[in-house]
Symmetry: C2
Subunit: 240 residues, 2 copies
């Protein structure tokens, strides 16, 4: 770990993954893949404290490619994952500091609850306001799945996902997307339960959306090079 | 698009994303990021046919870093995303071939239904066999979420996720993971409904798991360099 001149912590490490596949003769093969990870600020300090060689980790982040000119004046590129979430999955070797299991898993942030759905809007979104003035929009997204069953017959099924979103994203989405349109939804799973008038307890699982992209061209702009690029903020993003 | 000597199609393209953030003065900033995508086989032909400059796409794949020696004998690296799924989200510019909207969205594969959960096993997994002999394991994973409410008070909540898995993964998981253990689950959302004895229709949303990693050291091996690396197949993977 090192610190930038402004005092921000930054640490980097490499994650080794293996990919298994079968070659033409049906033999199991595997190949290693090394991925460069860069972590900033508070998470850098946590990684530096908890991770040792051999730790098994879940990393979530974004890709970033840096370029620079080397001593010979040749342009060099390096692609890294800038991590914004890290979860220790255990499997530490004995070489690290003696942290107890409870110290490692006590943080409630050491969880991931993430859904990605691309499907078609089954009906128009419904926007309403709570007595507190908070905007809530609900809608249903249908996804199709196709597979071949054991008799070799192609099968299809449709799932309907209940989606809920709040505040500015709720207001924006209710204007931007319509029935039938293809949408990308990112969020977390949430369960609610309530008792009906018949006294029977009911459960409902919803996707609480934090990021929604509609398939309109509306949120794009034409650049001078003639290509259509997405604008910096093409989507509704929950400010929380 | 080009073809390898063995006749496999391969195509590559660049995806432009923007990341928005606020600088120290609170001004909205954005920076572009270019990511190299490589696509093989049938998907390469589909991408080549459907994608034009400006298309808005969802790409799912794995990171791969290639290295080679350039003309000066300097080692060069290039990191690419090897795509195994592509969904066209619309936003095509007018330059491409005249494909109708129905041609683009008619494929049921043009959907994504994906969940990632890391949490603790709320109870031991339950393995049972259907009359057909198929193995089914169900279990519940708890995820915690912490946030600060509008009064600045820290809040916490727990979600319980119903997970179901089938066949070899069901048998393996029932032996490998136990109550309290931290697990990584990857799968898809599925809704079921049935009528109770009281005639009331009930709904249940489950995660159908296709990939599970437990936090044991059991599935790791010690390499000669002293570091503990995950083995090629550390996890239960659904063969379908």
């Amino acid at each position: 770990m090192r610190y930038t001149p402004s005092g921000t912590a930054v640490t980097s490490f490499t994650v080794l993954t293996y990919r298994g596949w079968k070659d033409d003769s049906g033999t199991e093969q595997s190949s290693p893949e090394y991925t460069n990870i860069v972590v900033w600020s508070k998470l850098a300090e946590i990684c530096n404290q908890l991770l040792v060689s051999g730790s098994r980790v879940f990393i979530e982040g974004r890709l970033q490619t840096r370029s620079w000119d080397d001593q010979e004046g040749v342009k060099r590129y390096k692609t890294e994952v800038i991590a914004d979430d890290m979860v220790l999955l255990g499997g530490r070797s004995g070489a690290g500091p003696a942290l107890s299991e409870s110290e490692i898993t006590v943080s409630p942030d050491m969880c991931v609850n993430r859904v990605q759905v691309i499907g078609n809007l089954a009906r128009d979104p419904e926007l309403r306001y709570l007595p507190s003035g908070t905007a809530v929009t609900t809608f249903v997204v249908a996804t199709n799945r196709a597979w071949t069953n054991s008799e070799g017959v192609r099968q299809e099924s449709t799932e309907f996902h209940n989606v809920v979103c709040w505040n500015t994203i709720a207001e924006q989405v209710s204007k931007d997307i319509n029935k039938g349109q293809k949408v990308y939804i990112e969020g977390r799973l949430q369960n609610r339960s309530w008792e009906g008038e018949d006294g029977v307890k009911r459960f409902k699982t919803e996707i609480v959306a934090s990021f929604i992209v509609g398939s309109t061209v509306r949120d794009e702009m034409r650049h001078e090079d003639g290509a259509v690029h997405p604008v910096p903020s093409p989507a509704a993003k929950d400010p929380t």
